[in-house]
Symmetry: C2
Amino acid sequence: MSATPSRLTTIRDFTILLDKYDTWMFDCDGVLWRGSEIIEGVIEVLHILRCRRKKIIFVTNNAAKSRKSYKSKFDKLGLEVHVDEIYGSAHAAAVYLSSVVKLPKSKKVYVIGMKGLEEELEEEGVSYLGGTDPHDNTLHPFSLDEFHLDPDVAAVVCGLDMSINYTKIAKAFQYLTRNSGCQFIAANEDSTYPASNGILPGAGAVMAPLRHMLGRDPICTGKPSAIMLDCIKAKVKFDPKRTLMVGDRLNTDIEFGHNGGLSTLLVLTGVTSESDISGPNASPTIPDFVVTSLGDLRILDREVA
Amino acid sequence: MSATPSRLTTIRDFTILLDKYDTWMFDCDGVLWRGSEIIEGVIEVLHILRCRRKKIIFVTNNAAKSRKSYKSKFDKLGLEVHVDEIYGSAHAAAVYLSSVVKLPKSKKVYVIGMKGLEEELEEEGVSYLGGTDPHDNTLHPFSLDEFHLDPDVAAVVCGLDMSINYTKIAKAFQYLTRNSGCQFIAANEDSTYPASNGILPGAGAVMAPLRHMLGRDPICTGKPSAIMLDCIKAKVKFDPKRTLMVGDRLNTDIEFGHNGGLSTLLVLTGVTSESDISGPNASPTIPDFVVTSLGDLRILDREVA
């Protein structure tokens, strides 16, 4: 972490980066693509890194999709990746429940979230209710008289949920306040996310009613949480000193790198602009390096070839 | 406001109270009734106050009902009141928009809320959209492509909304961020409310996603806000020094009294218990007086008779 980030613009700058880091971790939206459009030069840059035998890891806070369904996004954009290279906050939530909380097989979680979160829970053998269950995806008035409190619900897990409604919030609140020791877990705290044509409510907005009612924060498994990095560490060997985290968000990607002792590279193709990193309103979170776009590194192919 | 509240138990205590205050303001739920059951002695106490020609005002944060429909609750429980004696947070929100914001007739508000809030807006001549509109009461995926941003929406108003959903949150967020100067108003911040058989999400929980996304608080019109008292002042003449606010919640009712320079009487028939007002975990908000139940004052009828 340096006081001011180094601006990288020349082949020489990029070559030093390439020599210094063996493992490259990437945020996706705003770094590799924007909405449904790939950022120019990204395919070439990933190709260069693979030719140099760099370890490549994709780290996303997207909690609506499982890693498997997220891979299809890469496929569509012509990015060749392996599903094992992808780490998502829904996956991290599921791994946290199975490996850290060590939820007994007899216990369940109540899900505020979508199919992707359910798939990740299934993958980790975690039983759940709520989520996409039609009974909970309703605007029918919620009544406590008709509600059966399942005593086996030991956690509430929140991800992005575009079918969020009063019934889900009310049920989750009952579990969190009436089932002793029930854990409050959120895939991520991102209040919004960038859609292709605007800004929409994110997982953090969806869990905000519960946080307000409980007066406490959930355990967050997505970036910048160390839980996400622990999930990666459990599967991949890497030296933090020789690892670079590339992202477009200071409070998630760059903080995530800082928390994990990784070096950090900010790209300006996403939500962060020049005024966020320099001048009077600059953020206190400072990346090690800045490039205008990840695609800029493609000039390295002259070196590689 | 005193350092420790006076416990009132005797006819002599209550007689002093009766002599000291001309205007009596009451919170309703937890003071007059609990769920659908009236608290013993309350009918007699209100009768005593009316016989003594006290000014009586009911001040509720219930934002789901209009004053008119709230009156039917009094009727059902055998409490004779006039609709003009009732002041609600939905009414306060509507009055705030018409009298303080002075919303031009050409402008509208986007409503997250129920029929009661709409009725209060209509009463004040404020145009609105959202609310109970079937188009907004849906779990159908929200798409910005199909969304038309109405440039005349100049405020978002949130009350309790048991049909809260992603579409409403997303639309409200668009107005608050894309219509310049759009105001963020909440009928109240109560995170929960007591139903007859448990605790359910309140208006504060419903507006929490927007607060999280915007990173700022709404203007709240319900207790403990002075906006609510201003609404009452606009209609009723009273001397704050000779006015008593009776309530069961320290952070709404008693704070409301303090903010308005009124004396305060806490009852223990609602959400506040002995341990909240004395001992190591006592709240910093201290009422002037405490009675176990408003019904205790009925022993005064011996005096009156």
